[in-house]
Subunit: 301 residues, 4 copies
């Protein structure tokens, strides 16, 4: 029996394990990445390498994309030799990047003009969850697209959250909300643990109590450990990318007329981190910025 | 066999179910409350009523206190006919209120002068958890006091977190940190859900996703439901009390030289809630303040 | 002797008195405004009316623009029949709107491609100062352009601040900095006067002291009076426009890696004002938002 | 003719030039300071030195105090051998320190019990203005006390602002409001100048423009120069004292139910400055903290 073909664009920290899981699940995967060197590892595992972006798609086929920002996605989707052209009428683009809802709406319209399907399907989970096939897909768009994408995405997802089809960007809104909630949790832990530490209590001890009881959930367990130990490298998701996402949330919030002062605080913290040379650290380095402001920077000891 | 006697001071929303659980566990409980009418319900369940505060304690005995603020506790402990006098040398005061660490240190010293034990033992959990015997006790002080208090507190606690004896106020520091983390979670949910709602997504739907996945823990499940539904009355813990606790955290943080801008944000929000007449609502009414600022106040619809 | 011709685009609250002063100073003024009805008042005072935008400019001539936002300016300058086309090589566009520095750089490049001069020349001062010919022009760009523009701008300006020609957008940066400083002064007064009022001191009395002594300067005198009296209508400059400008400052600050938490606070306040229906009030309605948060909203008395 | 006797307590950066001006104006001045070494300079200029605090006052006489904080003032006024005792009925204590309004009310009551007058008379102006006799006195309390104090205070003051006698602490409220406004202006300049600098514009140039035009007033001229040059030592008023004052404002604001998010921001900034070892710098080092957060700390170049 012929394997189903899937194109995959964007082999960063998240995209690579997602593509690997597609291979493991038996799909015929063609990959493309702007930096070509990142493709070899996938080829070694059985993927085909697209020499040009257009080759990643089969006409009427399905392509998943996982890119760093709105501009990269727009270029990949709408540029010359991009996905919309390559997929031709009847194809489906499953767009998993974290982008501005406005960009999603604009892209969906541009795809529709060419009779190519567009499904907003951002994911929650860090690289290790992607590798374990435990991502949560949040999606919005036409039901038929979800039916088509579901067996593919099941290769790396443990759950699907459906936000209907009224607004193709609804899933992007939820994704921004979720990332904001993650960063907020980090800020809260960072302040709380610095507060305890400077009063003589070990960061790890209070982290253990909180993440065993009131905050016994993945967000706090994962990031609490990093913040308690000030372990911000290597990055699962960089401060620079975190700054981008909080910026998207603030901009979408402005359009929707929702003041988000906590998001403003996070933005200013992440911006200071990047200004002071920590942009490539994990975004949980919010905890580093907090300790720094308290005169207790672990990198200066 | 004689029942062990336990005195209990402070029959508010938390103290009452705690005292009830002591009765159910077979202790001989004497209760005292500043407003006498709150004692009757406990008497109906088998408690003795102290006519005067001093009667709540037996010499060399054990008394638990659960009061609204530092001033109330200082009056009860150190005032004329207060606990220190009544317990006499050899007694033990298990102090469970959320108070300033400085107050705890001062009280411990004052107790020690009279050879009365002082154990800092604040609890995490809302009234329903107190009723279910599911509180988490966080304590600091001499080990022997904990051994003595443990069988008593087991009547309403599901777990104990021990912060040693170097600083009698360590548990109070952790309690303030935890309450700050709770309020931070509420602010994050409040902003996130308003952000989603004003972009057409039901608050309950995004709350369901978040509390099933990344934030599947008691703090988010409990408060997320209240915030998603804008259900801020009756209060489990009032905005006025929340303001007090965040104020204590900020003051202790100032002494320890830890800037806590998220705590400052929470303080200003809670202060605005009290200024605008919502001080008696649950402190999760942070979600109300956020919706209000976004021009979407559910109480004005 | 022939009068010098000057084109003027944008007859809003600021542009109208500026154009009127050009007429009074003896220039031959042609005006254009997107909403045609605003042109009649100027025609009554001797201006010519451009039927189409292109008519506002004479080939190789000079045109001043004073528009509401970046998009309006880009359309006017670069659109079909826009200023760049109409001015033809040798013309000069004196661009006085408050815009993003990036927009200024982009516009300057686009003008240069057509050999049309572009001078960044934003102004400080409210409509009454425009009418009195008392604006402060802040400019950057080629020296020869300033020499050419100076006799024209002198009709409405009392002073010129020159930021050289290294970066054509330098004046736009300073303009955003200045507007941010104005809004910051309003926030400070708003909080201070609410603080005094709720402790029994008349807003006007403390405003009088401050603006006679430490803060005896136009920014505080002008806005202090409005804030002390809660007099936010009619608007000299709306909260909606203020939100736009603070948003531009935050975005330029992000690019330059400068966290501006006070600007973030102003943004959230102005956003809340617009969300709650006060977008058309003067931006000094920051003082209204502050009083509102303190439970003392003058519009609700 | 006999010189009028005046006692003066507190010879810090402000108190010393104030006392010197009393000597120059021909008063018979007795000084007292907790650190005795600071008294010698005044003795050299003709003052008497009080060996004990009580000697600073003549019975029924007048004493001015200028101390660092509430605790120091309470000790000096109400302690054994303190001013209330020494002044005896009919004396007048002109209290010029920046203190909590509650402390002022409490002190006024305690003085009244002993039939000693208490006049709240905090001053605006830095040490150089004190030396030049150019302070602004802001006062509240009984009219007869002001009549008695006015000829004395005229030795160092250029103006008097009277907040009546309904609330003896009204002047303290205004003083806190004014200091908050000063720190707010510094924050605004600090952010604006960093914003300009990181976009290639000299701090001094934008400072010059702003302080010549919209912000041509003492607060901006004085502090703008320090912030533009990052010249934070020696301190006219330390960051540590600034933190104390903003803390007082926030606490009084809490009691009066006025959220002051800009004050919260200032508090967190000043707290971080003290945590990072800059507490003895001038409070305008807010500009240093801002540059630091932008990765452009002048002390690290």
């Amino acid at each position: 029996m012929t394997k189903q073909h899937v194109g995959f664009v964007g082999l960063g920290a998240m995209g690579r394990p997602m593509a690997e899981n597609l291979l493991k699940a038996g799909f015929d995967v063609t990959v493309w990445n702007r930096s070509p060197d990142k493709m070899q590892a996938l080829v070694d595992q059985g993927a085909r390498k697209a020499e040009r972006l257009a080759e990643v798609a089969k006409p009427h086929g399905i392509v998943l994309s996982m890119l760093a920002d709105d501009a990269a996605l727009e270029e990949v989707a709408l540029g010359d030799g991009g996905l919309v052209e390559a997929l031709s009428p009847g194809g489906l683009h499953v767009s998993m990047s974290t982008i501005h809802p406005e960009t999603a709406r604009k892209l969906a319209d541009a795809h529709a003009e060419h009779e190519v399907g567009y499904l907003a399907a951002p994911v929650f989970g860090r690289p290790d969850m992607a590798a374990a096939g435990k991502l949560f897909v949040t999606w919005s768009g036409w039901h038929s697209y979800k039916e088509r994408a579901q067996p593919v995405c099941a290769a790396f997802a443990q759950g699907f959250y459906d936000y209907g089809s009224d607004d193709v960007a609804a899933a992007n809104v939820v994704k921004l909300a979720g990332n904001f909630m993650l960063a907020s949790a980090m800020e809260a832990m960072g302040e709380a643990y610095a507060f305890c530490e400077q009063q003589g209590i070990a960061r790890e001890q209070v982290n253990a109590q909180m993440t065993e009881t009131l905050f016994a959930c993945p967000a706090y367990k994962n990031y609490g450990d990093l913040i308690a130990r000030h372990a911000y490298a290597p990055a699962g998701f960089t401060a620079t990318l975190g700054l981008k996402d909080i910026g998207l949330a603030l901009d979408a919030g402005r359009q929707a007329k929702v003041p988000m002062p906590l998001a403003s605080l996070l933005r200013d913290r992440l911006l200071s981190l990047t200004a002071r040379g920590h942009g490539d650290k994990d975004w949980s380095a919010l905890g580093l910025a907090i300790a720094h402001d308290a005169g207790n920077d672990p990198t200066e000891r």
